[in-house]
Symmetry: C2
Subunit: 357 residues, 2 copies
Amino acid sequence: MRGVLPISAVVVSLEVHCPAPLPSDVVQLAHGGGGRAMWRLLQEIVLPAVGAGSGAHAHDAATFAVPPGARLAFTTDASVVRPLFFPGGDIGRLAVFGAVNDLAAAGARPLALSLSLILEEGLALETLRRVLASVEAAARTSGVRVVTGDTKVVDRGKGDGLYVSMAGIGVVAPGADVGPWRIRPGDALIVTGDVGRHGIAVLSVREGIAFESPVESDCAPVTGLLDALLGAGIEIHCLRDPTRGGLSAVMNELAIASEVSIVVDEAAIPVDAPVAAACELLGLDPLAMACEGRLLVVVPDADADRALAALRSLPEGARAARIGRVEGAPARVTAVTALGTRHVLDFASGEQLPRIC
Amino acid sequence: MRGVLPISAVVVSLEVHCPAPLPSDVVQLAHGGGGRAMWRLLQEIVLPAVGAGSGAHAHDAATFAVPPGARLAFTTDASVVRPLFFPGGDIGRLAVFGAVNDLAAAGARPLALSLSLILEEGLALETLRRVLASVEAAARTSGVRVVTGDTKVVDRGKGDGLYVSMAGIGVVAPGADVGPWRIRPGDALIVTGDVGRHGIAVLSVREGIAFESPVESDCAPVTGLLDALLGAGIEIHCLRDPTRGGLSAVMNELAIASEVSIVVDEAAIPVDAPVAAACELLGLDPLAMACEGRLLVVVPDADADRALAALRSLPEGARAARIGRVEGAPARVTAVTALGTRHVLDFASGEQLPRIC
């Protein structure tokens, strides 16, 4: 890569500019103004935190070569989660894995990330440092780097600490053709782990609810799971990470997009006991709760057992389970309960959990 | 392109879901919840506005092939301008051209854009529609499309209507090597048009200041100017769009990054009379005011006249002017005034114009 982290308007240190210490330990409007204060914020906090250099190779855009014949994937994901830190993660991890996992859902491994920060005046610089350190660590875990970025500041009362938009470029695995257009009647549905943990983890800290067993977010990259499937030679038809709206939403989306029906065995869907208990207490449906480190996997029935074995070979896939099958039109998701009764599993209405990611 | 606008969680219409009319004409928290309300917002407003289809080819990430041997550029730019609409532009145009112009500064033509929206609860849907229409028109003008996106909603009082983060991928023009690392003593500095208009245009509407002659933002793509330079066979050393911090900031950044001094002829810098008058009235420096459709161009002295002729062949480059030259270390920007006196031209402090872009 030539331009490593060319955050807009980045410059290197120079004696003649002789910056005085920051007058305070919080973000100020001047940090977004394009002048010296912004230069210092980038130079002293943003760039070092994400492990980037600066100088002559910092520019408005990063440039890099692409493997010959590569097919690219491109995605973006804003994170507005409240609070910024929650059990098992924070807004920085969420932003990185959000982009990385959307790329994985297209059968792609991450190549480069861009980081867009919207900071609220008054945000503690220490909070910014923590979030940036988390971004750097999460990117490293995912085998990718932040190569370009942008930082804006809005006035007090016009933000909520900070918002992060993370865009990502990935390289589609050779031969992979992963998407709703490949789903066929007869395909098997697999989920790579227990569902609903992210939603409950955020809710618990936001609403001050203490559970007997603390629930941690499942916030993690799913690229390893993709690699396991590819390595086992599985013919992957579709992948989707069940974030906002949970498993219910993604199954409904896929059913509609592919004009198929999905029949899901509710008892087969892994849900941790504390998550199930919390949902029951709060009147929430675990299948509508966001996950941030899971994949819904659609494969031909003949590949399902090998896919399960491949996923379970990884710690993050240890609880992978076959949960349903694809049937013909009409587009609909039907849940079969433990008692054998059937009901239509619809989208959640959308109100239950704002700002979960 | 395979996945045209695969905004996360996009699905197609289906009778069984039979959505009722939106209960109101403003954004609600439920629009960000991942459930049916979000689906309807995307389906009814976001996707049609940016000219995108949906269905089986909508997915979490867009995928596309890259021209063989291409070198990519990648950038991101958040827009938090206040107000959302100003003379000569709006936040949608600003976001698109911000990304497109950062790519141009790397010598790249845009290939694909991603659109990340952060909406505040209570935003009029009509405002969202207007901004999205503007995004679509600006992308079309720039010869590029929004291919992927994400929409989040934050509660009332935690935003300011809407914020937009636009990431862009571009293809670097074959043979181009454009960046601060190429700047050499002896190079000529050219600016492609009059400066400071964007800053004054936004300020005038924000502060309710009426000037005798209304000032419109210069908000526009600079890709045509890049093409003109490339077409004329100019050896482009560096390009930079002088946005936040204006011409002063980018010249200082380049001087520091390249460890050169820049000597600029103040009288040669084109500034429209109303802009100059407004700056004088308000105690602002036009050289520190943001432009959104200009390039600072650095070329070898021997190419300067041909570069000027190439730029002036386009309407948007009609007022291109040679404004200075590069000299050796130390890194510093010196302005020579009309009277022949010299002074150091420093970064602005950064406080004068928050949320200008």
